[in-house]
């Protein structure tokens, strides 16, 4: 496996970096890593917003147990 791919993608992919990416340049790998980082951040932000909005919709009676499950 390409050392560059492992070095650049591992922080974003976590566990393992698959092989077969040798043909990509460092610049391309970095570009993709950056897109992945942004995608994860966007997903986390959207999820947090969605949870807040969901709590608004949940009837008052259920809000406390739902909140407990969501946030402990």
């Amino acid at each position: 496996m390409s050392q560059a791919a492992r070095r650049i993608l591992k922080p974003e992919l976590g566990g393992s970096v698959p092989g077969g990416l040798e043909e990509l340049t460092e610049e391309e790998l970095s570009g993709f890593a950056s897109m992945l980082r942004i995608a994860k951040r966007r997903q986390s932000e959207e999820l947090e917003t969605a949870v807040d909005e969901a709590l608004e919709i949940v009837p008052r009676l259920l809000r406390r147990p739902v909140r407990k499950i969501l946030f402990g």
Partner: protein, 432 residues
Amino acid sequence: MKGYLSPAVEVRRLARLIGADPEDLVYFERLEGQAIRDLRDQVTVAMFDADRQLLQRVAVATKLVPAKLGAVIGERAFGALLCARITGLLDPSRAVDISKHLPVTFLADLCLHLDPRRASRVIGEMPPDTVAAIAAQLVAGEEYIAMGGFVGHLSKAALLAALDAVDDESLLRTAYVIEAKQNISALVALLPDERLANIIATASGADLWAEALDVLAHVTERQRGALGDLAAAQDDEVLDSMVRAALRDDLWSEVLPVIRAMSPESRERFATLKSIQARPVLATIMDAAAEDSLWAELLVLLPLLPITARRQVATLATAFNRETFEQIIGAAHEEELWPGLIAFATELDKGPRREIAKLIDDSDPDVLQSLLTAVHDTSLEANLMAVIRELPATGQRHLGTRIAAAPTELVDALSAAADEAGLKPLSEALTK
């Protein structure tokens, strides 16, 4: 094309997963499709892991609210993408209950972001009418890649319902991008012959032969033959369009196995098509056979071609080297296609014919034995003599000595044929 994953299709899947424009990831198309898919699998895990705890908690909390309210929250607060991430974490029956309260447009949108492998049980429990409605929605949006991911996860009833909801052209386009190609034969098995014949006509009308032939590369040998027969039953215009597409897009490696799998009558129909007999077509067929070692496929087709086309093939074969002829003889032996080989060899120019004669002389005993038996069974002794004639006297004697060890019946028949052909050195060696 077996097991082939299109890099362009895989790039689109990867782009969708991270919400990117496929154009921004176009450099990935330099990679093997499998490498992009492996990366996508890892990205799927990473995207999920990024919010694993909260996603799991949302899934648990969903149990507390009625299905209808769950649907409202899903649609209004979470949206299709996040719902797709959560779907696989839900109890399947719960997910199905919630889906009943969601509009089809939302479900179709959710499907675009769903990783079917992570939500297989949910998909498997989706009611057929819902699946059909979603399929129709996805077709309207030309979302063939998303649809292709679901085959293999749907129940048979749901798959049948979806097939009814999808037109022939969309079905072909979807089959081409099915993620689990091993499911194509099961899908084809669900379609009646009439529909399959219409799909073949559609491949011609919409110029989707590359897609149709890819499907044919992933079905069972029996299905390939049956589909080939259905194709052969179409008008010349349909078959000519396939020949044109094969020539233009280099698809003979996909076409030749289909021709081989057909019934003899269908094969004959293909072989006598005017369009297949043109020299450029024959040249690309020979190139494909050489490139992918499709010699058995070629040997099945060649004897059926009209004489003028066979002569063209013979001329093209003068460019073959010894190694290529060795492969052709190997295919004839392994696939028991000696009559095809002998017919091919007798039409070659002297040089290539001598090469084949020498290879026969140099062949292993079991190869020679199977050739002689096949020649005797099909009464092709005279044709074999036309090939052996190209050997010098010493070669004929050497081969004659080897043949003399065969059963008497074979030796007698070949001896008579050698006499008839005036091959004295061979005849003498056989009668010693």
